[in-house]
């Protein structure tokens, strides 16, 4: 056990699964980098932010495919490889590029098991970076997990820490269905204790990172860290929060979310994806339908405005939810209870 970054945790998961199972292969743009150039360095990049560095050198060109810039072709190739027995991990680089290969994901990979009467398996993982806060502008900063969550037949994973990333990626690789694995690009240098040994965290089981009595905060990916920060500050003022990290948006652990809301009676949802038809609306609908009687205050959503992600640093900061906004949302649902009781 030692401290590892989010980047190292993902690299280690890939490496250990490649060692364990020869069917696991990597495919993507620049995941080795430098191939075909004149530098002689075959593993120059290791992915655009260095996540796969070292794997080309260790496993060679039969296991790590550095592809031309054509998402349609290499994602299609990965889907086909999965359908015919390999267990590919494709890297889409920025999730914003999914527009170039959505048919391969939405109409092919996601449908095979269903349309072939359960006889086809598609053990495919597509890794991609998501999220604002990196000054990468509107075409490289989106949080498109609601798009994938919307499509039956896909599993969608959003790890919130290095420990979570390693265990969830190993689970994703061992899963027999197509899995979209989304990495927040701002988190690659986050560090925490991560076991050296392989381990898998099951899908559809939410993790409670804080447990409290007053308010349930459901948060996704990087927002879990902000929610924890807000919960710790609020704790000092006597407001105790449960923080729910669903880990996967599909499948979604609705049972745990509902139980937590039953216990606290108040719900704040933190979602950095665009606010229309996102995970916050989905969770709000779930709770409104199945835990309405438990609610002591209206459900509050914390998210960005419905605009493209701005490039300007000050605007991007304004765009993203942070701990202060979560804290103020929690205080507002707590205050709501007071006015009702006094009335």
């Amino acid at each position: 056990m030692s401290k590892k970054s989010f980047r190292q945790a993902i690299n280690e998961a890939l490496r250990q699964e490649m060692l364990r199972d020869p069917r696991v292969v990597l495919i993507g743009e620049d995941i080795a980098g430098g191939q075909g150039g004149t530098s002689g360095v075959v593993d120059a990049w290791g992915g655009v932010l260095g996540v796969t560095k070292g794997l080309y050198t260790e496993f060679g060109p039969d296991r790590v495919f550095d592809t031309p810039i054509s998402e349609a072709s290499y994602i299609g190739a990965a889907v086909g490889a999965a359908a015919t027995g390999l267990r590919p991990v494709a890297e889409l680089m920025f999730v914003d590029f999914v527009g170039c290969c959505l048919d391969q994901i939405m109409n092919q990979a996601a449908k095979f098991r269903y349309m072939f009467g359960g006889k086809a398996r598609t053990p495919l993982v597509i890794r991609a970076m998501y999220g604002a806060g990196f000054n990468a502008a509107a075409q490289h900063s989106q949080a498109l997990y609601p798009l994938f969550t919307h499509i039956p037949g896909l599993k969608v994973v959003i790890p919130s820490s290095p420990y979570e990333a390693k265990g969830l990626l190993i689970e994703a690789i061992r899963d027999d269905d197509p899995v979209i694995f989304l990495e927040n690009k701002v988190m690659y240098d986050d560090e925490e204790e991560v076991p050296d040994e392989p381990y898998a965290i099951p899908f559809g089981e939410a993790n409670l990172t804080r447990e409290g009595d007053d308010v349930t905060i459901v948060a996704f990916g990087r927002m879990v860290n902000f929610a924890n920060e807000a919960a710790d500050r609020l704790e000092k003022d006597g407001i105790s929060c449960t923080v729910v990290d669903p880990r996967t948006t599909s499948p979604l652990d609705s049972a745990t979310i509902l139980e937590c809301v039953e216990d606290t009676g108040r719900l704040v949802i933190v979602d950095e994806s665009s606010p229309r038809c996102n995970m916050a609306t989905d969770v709000a609908a779930l709770v409104a339908e199945d835990a309405f009687d438990a609610l002591k205050a209206p459900i509050r959503r914390v998210g960005p405005p419905h605009t493209p992600v701005p490039f300007a640093t000050v605007l991007e900061k304004l765009y993203l939810p942070d701990a202060a906004r979560i804290e103020s949302a929690v205080r507002s649902v707590m205050a709501y209870k007071k006015t009702k009781q006094e009335a």
Partner: protein, 373 residues
Amino acid sequence: MTDLITPITMPKFGLAMTEGKIAGWNIPSGTHVDAGQEIADIETTKITNGYESPASGTLRRQIATEGETLPVGALLGVLAEPAVSDADIDAFIARFQADFSSGGAATTQTDQAEPTLVSLGELTLRVQDAGQGTGTPIVFIHGFGGDLSNWMLNQNTLSTGRRTVAFDLPGHGGSSKNVGDGKPATFAATAAALLDKLDISRAHVVAHSLGGAIALELAKTFPQKVASLSLIAPAGLGQGINMDFIEGFISADRRKTLEPVLDYLVHDKTLISRKMIEDIIRFKRLDGAVKGLQTIAQSCFPNGRQADDLRPVLASFAGPAQVIWGADDEILSPDDAKGLPETIKVLILPAAGHMPQLEKAADVNAALTKFID
């Protein structure tokens, strides 16, 4: 006058502890305390434990307030004789706080070595090696589902003047997950090989639960290696075993299902912390961990009974032996300590469950120190 003033500082219970909370002071300011008297309860992310006064004297100041969380090594209070003036105490506190804030905390965190990995043929074992001196070494053997952190409140205390070794059994903690046939005799052979590897020819063996059965197998096969036996709630002395615990520990994979299972371990259920539950869940997620536990359970507790009767081994053991048990053990019954030869000391601790070395650490440490010295 400063040599007459004793600082009371935040203790370090086990490797992972970096800070602790004052759950409560047991005595008010101005009271006389004896060395070893429990003066406060310290809560960590893992466990709440009584804090024994390092010296005798009058508790002149309580610096830390109840509910306050402070780093390891931080000043909690000050002990001194009544003759020491308030001015001297104020000066002492000011100097301590100045030193502490300029890096004192960092040094106290490194005074305990990290566990190391020791290769033993195909196995890798995680080993916590502590202490040095001329005393006969002590080896600690944990039980089913445990790891070396089960000795977090004992190992340091017993490391004065001697080497002590705690390790994770195969299938547990940070050791290889290959448990072989999962039988106590196999683990005993591994423990013997570890002692050889560490150049320890003979050791006092302190063992808990299933570790007790392993210690007895060790005494049976390698009697020359065992200087004495201290068995805490040991397996091997009876047939009964709480299979709800064993089966629940293997099958539960979520906090909600695991917590009631872990409640069986202790008399005071509030000791089972979030962190303890999370650590066990994380251990069980490791590749091979659950399979290893299943193999051990099938070998040691087939059909819901203990497979190995090791009472004859204990009865015929030539060296000193003692048995320590929590009166409220819900996993292995303290009745199993009845009917042993009179030469074997039996200590039944009231208000303690299956893990008295954590729950009644001071009592267990006192019994071990007295017995081993």
